[in-house]
Amino acid sequence: MNASTPTLTARLTELLRKPFVWGVLAILLLLVVNLLKDPSYLAIRVNPTNGNLAGNVLDILRASAPIVLVATGMSLVIATAGIDLSVGSVMAVAGATSMQYLQSADAASSMSAALTAMAMSIALGAVLGMVSGALVAYVGLQPFITTLVMMLAGRGLAKVITSGQNTTATNEQFRWLANGYVGGFPVVFLLALVIAILIMLVVRRSALGMMILSIGINPRASRMAGIKPAGLLITVYALSGVLAAIAGMFAVSSVMTVDVSQTGYQMEMDAILAVVVGGGSLAGGKLSMGGAVVGALLIATLDKTVVFLGVPSSATPAFKATVILVLFLLQADNVRGLLRSRRPRPTLPTEPVDTKVSVAA
C-alpha cells in the first residue's frame, strides 16, 4: 500500500469501489485459509494417461459450473428489477426430464438420445421461464410471487415427471457433460464459461443491456420511449429458465441420477448471492455479468472450503452466511468510510483530507 504515485493509489481506491473486486479478494482469502491448513491445497496433478488436470482447484471450477450459469441468467433478471426464485426447481425439472427420457430410451451410448434429452430439458426450461415472464409482463404479477409459485410448481412437476422416484439412467454421451475433459479441463466448466461469455457478448454488443437497464431503472419512461417491456421481460425470464435447465443437466449428469427433492435445492439463494456479490442491485438497473461469474466462483469456493475445513454440516449454513455478510459489509460504502475514519492511514494522501473535513464539519 506504500504506493508513492497518487495515480496508483487513486486507481486502487477506484478499483476497491467495484464490488466484484471484493469477491476476488474473498476467493483469494479462502484459498489462503485452505493453504494454511494444507500447503499442497492448490497443487494440480496431471493424469499421466489422459493428460487431464485434477486437484482441489479443478473441483472448485467443476462445482462452480451450474452456479455460473444460473447466476448469469439471474443477473439479467435482477437488472430488470425482477427476481427468479424458480431456478432451482427448473434445474430439478430439467434433470428429471433428462433422466426419465434416457431411462425410457434405454440407449446406453446413443448420441441422439443424449441430444434429445438435452433439447427436451432446455425447451421445458424455456417454457417455464416464459410462463413466469408472461405473468410478470402481461398480468403484472410481482416477480417474487410469480417465481415463488413457479418454484413450488417446478418441484412438483419434477416429481410428476419421475412419478416421485429418483430416476437413474445410463448414457455415456450425457455423462460426458459432467465427467468429460477437453484440453485437460472439465467439460462442465468450459461449457459454462463459454455460454456465459456468449451471453455477455450478445448483451454487450446488442442494445439488450441498455434496454434491460432502462426497464430496471424506470419502466414507465422506458415504455414511453418505445421500448416493449413485455418482450424483453419474457426473453430475460426464458433465458434464465434455459440456463437453469442446462445447470440442472450438469447437476444430474455426474451421478446420472435425479434427486427430485435435492437437485438444485436452494440454488436460487446461491445465484442471488452471487449476483449481489458481483455488484447487482435487487432494486434493478445494475448489470454486471462478469461480477456474477466472480460471485458464482466465490460461492463454489466457499462450499468447498466448508467441506475442506471440516465445518460440521449443521454449522455450514451459518458459516456461509457469516462469510457473505462480512463481504457485503466490506462492499458497503458507508461501512468502509467508517473503518477508514477510525484508523487514518497517513500513507494514503486522500484520506487525511477526508478526516479533516469530517472533523471540521
Partner: protein, 536 residues
C-alpha cells in the same frame, strides 16, 4: 427592511463537483419578514446553494451563519432543527397517509400508549389553520386533495416545527393562477409573522409579485443582490442570461408571418377521439409545418388528449388518420412507428431514465425503434448525441454524465433530443418549458419554431397561456376534459382572449365531482389526479 440583522448569512460559498465548479464564492443573505428570490438560469447554482445551506452538500469553502453563529449542517434534519425548513419542487409527501399524518410526520404528539392520534390531528388542524387552510380534514387521505393543496400541506408540515426560515424551491411550477394566489396569501401571512422566505421560481411575474429582494446567480457565480423595486425586469433578465430578450421578440414576429400557409389536407386528423374518465370525444387536426397549441388549465384534459394522439393511453372512441391513412395508436410503440413523438410533462417518472447516461437517454427511442438486435454503433450514437448536445445547447456537454445529475432544463433538452433523434413527423410537447429558465425556454421555443419550418407538425402544450399564444398557429382551448373552442392565431389574438373564452364558458353545470371533494375547490382548478368526474 434591511435594518434587522440577517437570520441567515452565507459568505464566499464554493462547492466543487467532479469537473464542475457548481458554486464559486457566492454570498447570500436572508432577512426575517422578507421574501428573497434566488434567480438564475438552469445550472446557475440555485438548487446547489439551497442544498449547501441545508447541509445536503458539503461546502468546500465559505461560511454559513445562522443568527450570527457559524453553523454547518449535516443534512435537512439538522437544518430543520435549527429552524430552516425546505419545501421542494415536487411535493415530497406520502400520498397513502392522511393529511394530518403528513403534517405531523416525525413529530407526532406522543402519549403513554404511543402516538396520541387525537392530539396529533388537533395539532395538525392547528398548523393547517395557521396557513388559512383549516377547512381541510386532517383525517382525509392526502391523495384526495389537489396538487396545489398538497403543496400547502407541505408548507404546513415545514412550519409545524416553528421554522424561522422557509425555503420554497419552485413551489408554483405545477399550480395554476388561482392556486398561486392562494399560495402567495400563505407566503404573505408567514412573512408578516417574521419568517424569512427563500423563494425560487422561473415565473418572473410571480417573483415580482411576491419578493422583496432578489439575488442573481449565473454559472455558479454571484451576480448581485437587489431590492426588487430597484430592479426592472429587463435588467434582471439581462443579469441572468447575460443578453437581452431579442431572441424571443424575433420568434414572435416569425410565427405571425407564416401561420396562414396551411390550407392543404391535415397530416394528423383525429375524429371524436376520447377516453372514458379522462377526455370527452374531441376532434383535432394538425397540418405539416403547423404548431397547434393546447390551452387550458390543469385538469382541462390537455395532457389526456395529447396522450391519446401518441398512444400512451388507448382511445375508447374515435379514429385517427395520419396522412390520409387510418392508424391504430394503441401503445407508445405504435406512435413511434408512425413517426409520432410525445414528450411528457412528467419528466421524472415518464421521461428521463436517471441512472443512464445522457448518451443513452438521447439514443433510447431511436434504439427502441430499431429493436435490440440492431444496435447503433458507438460512432452512430456519438453522431446523434453530439448533434443534439450542440443543437439544443445541453450543458454540461458531456454525453457520459448520468442524466439524473443534470439540471431540470437540461434534462428537458435531453428529452427533446431523444424525440428529435427519431425524426418525427408529428411532435407532441407537453409542458416542455415547465420549471426551466428564461434562456432555455427561449432555446426550446426557438427549436419548436424551426421544426415547424422544417415541416414537422407540432402540438404544443403549456400552462403559460402567453407562451401558447406566442408560439402556436392555432390554439385549441380545453376546459373540464372537453374542447370548448379553437382560435386561429393572428396579431390580434392575446392570452387574455383565451382566458376570457375559458371564463365565459360556464353555461354547463360542472360535472359531478367526487362527493368527498372539497366544496371550495372550483371544478376548473381541479388537478388531473382528482378522479370521479364521469363522462357526461
Amino acid at each position: 427592511m434591511a435594518e434587522s440583522p440577517p437570520v441567515v448569512e452565507m459568505t464566499g460559498i464554493s462547492i466543487e463537483f467532479p469537473g464542475v465548479k457548481a458554486l464559486d464564492g457566492v454570498d447570500f443573505r436572508l432577512f426575517p419578514g422578507e421574501v428573497h428570490s434566488l434567480m438564475g438560469e438552469n445550472g446557475a447554482g440555485k438548487s446547489t446553494l439551497i442544498k449547501a445551506l441545508t447541509g445536503v452538500y458539503k461546502i468546500d469553502s465559505g461560511t454559513v451563519k445562522v443568527r450570527d453563529a457559524e453553523r454547518r449542517f449535516h443534512g435537512t434534519a439538522d437544518a430543520q432543527a435549527a429552524g430552516i425548513s425546505t419545501v421542494y419542487q415536487e411535493v415530497n409527501l406520502c400520498t397513502n397517509l392522511t393529511i394530518g399524518e403528513n403534517v405531523m410526520l416525525g413529530h407526532e404528539v406522543r402519549g403513554p400508549l404511543g402516538i396520541n392520534r387525537r392530539a396529533t390531528f388537533r395539532a395538525a388542524t392547528e398548523a393547517l389553520r395557521k396557513l388559512g387552510i383549516g377547512h381541510l380534514d386532517p383525517r382525509a387521505p392526502l391523495s384526495s386533495i389537489s396538487i396545489a393543496m398538497q403543496q400547502l400541506v407541505a408548507i404546513s408540515r415545514a412550519m409545524a416545527t416553528d421554522s424561522t426560515v422557509l425555503i420554497l424551491d419552485e413551489p408554483t411550477s405545477s399550480l395554476d393562477a388561482a392556486e398561486v394566489d392562494q399560495l402567495f396569501g400563505v407566503i404573505r401571512r408567514l412573512r408578516a409573522e417574521g419568517v424569512a422566505i427563500l423563494f425560487v421560481s422561473h415565473f418572473l411575474d410571480q417573483v415580482y409579485a411576491i419578493s422583496d429582494r432578489i439575488t442573481v446567480l449565473r454559472n455558479g457565480r454571484y451576480e448581485g443582490e437587489f431590492l426588487t423595486r430597484d430592479l426592472p425586469r429587463g435588467r434582471l433578465i439581462a443579469t441572468m442570461i447575460g443578453k437581452d430578450l431579442e431572441a424571443l421578440a424575433s420568434l414572435e414576429s416569425s410565427r405571425e408571418a407564416r401561420h396562414t400557409e396551411t390550407t392543404d389536407e391535415p397530416l394528423l386528423k383525429a375524429d371524436g377521439i376520447g377516453r372514458k374518465g379522462s377526455i370527452e370525444p374531441t376532434d383535432v387536426s394538425v397540418h405539416r409545418g403547423e404548431v397547434v397549441g393546447f390551452a387550458g388549465l390543469l385538469g382541462s384534459g390537455r395532457t389526456e388528449l395529447a396522450r391519446l394522439l401518441y398512444g400512451a393511453d388507448r382511445a375508447d372512441t374515435g379514429t385517427i388518420t395520419l396522412d390520409g391513412k387510418k392508424v391504430a395508436l394503441t401503445s407508445p410503440v405504435s406512435g413511434l412507428d408512425n413517426r409520432i413523438a410525445f414528450s411528457t410533462e412528467n419528466r421524472r417518472d415518464e421521461g428521463i431514465v436517471g441512472d443512464l447516461t445522457v448518451r443513452e437517454n438521447v439514443v433510447l427511442a431511436v434504439q427502441a425503434k430499431r429493436g435490440w438486435a440492431r444496435p447503433l454503433s458507438r460512432r452512430e450514437q456519438d453522431e446523434i448525441v453530439q448533434k443534439y448536445i450542440a443543437a439544443l445547447n445541453i450543458r454540461p456537454a458531456n454525453p457520459n454524465m448520468l442524466a439524473a445529475n443534470l439540471s431540470g432544463g437540461n434534462q428537458q433538452k435531453v428529452l427533446l433530443g431523444r424525440w428529435l433523434a427519431t425524426q418525427p413527423q408529428v411532435l407532441i410537447l407537453d409542458e416542455p418549458t415547465r420549471g426551466i429558465d428564461v434562456g432555455a425556454k427561449a432555446e426550446i421555443q426557438d427549436s419548436v419554431a424551426k421544426l415547424a419550418d422544417d415541416g414537422v407538425a407540432v402540438v404544443f402544450i403549456s400552462s403559460e397561456l402567453e407562451e401558447v399564444v406566442r408560439i402556436s398557429d392555432r390554439v385549441l382551448v380545453l376546459k373540464d376534459r372537453a374542447k370548448i373552442g379553437e382560435i386561429v392565431n393572428g396579431p390580434e389574438v392575446t392570452a387574455q382572449m383565451v382566458v376570457e373564452l375559458i371564463a365565459a364558458h360556464h353555461e354547463e353545470p360542472l360535472p359531478d365531482g367526487d362527493p368527498t371533494d372539497d366544496p371550495t375547490t372550483d371544478g376548473a382548478l381541479r388537478a388531473p389526479t382528482t378522479e370521479g368526474a364521469s363522462a357526461a
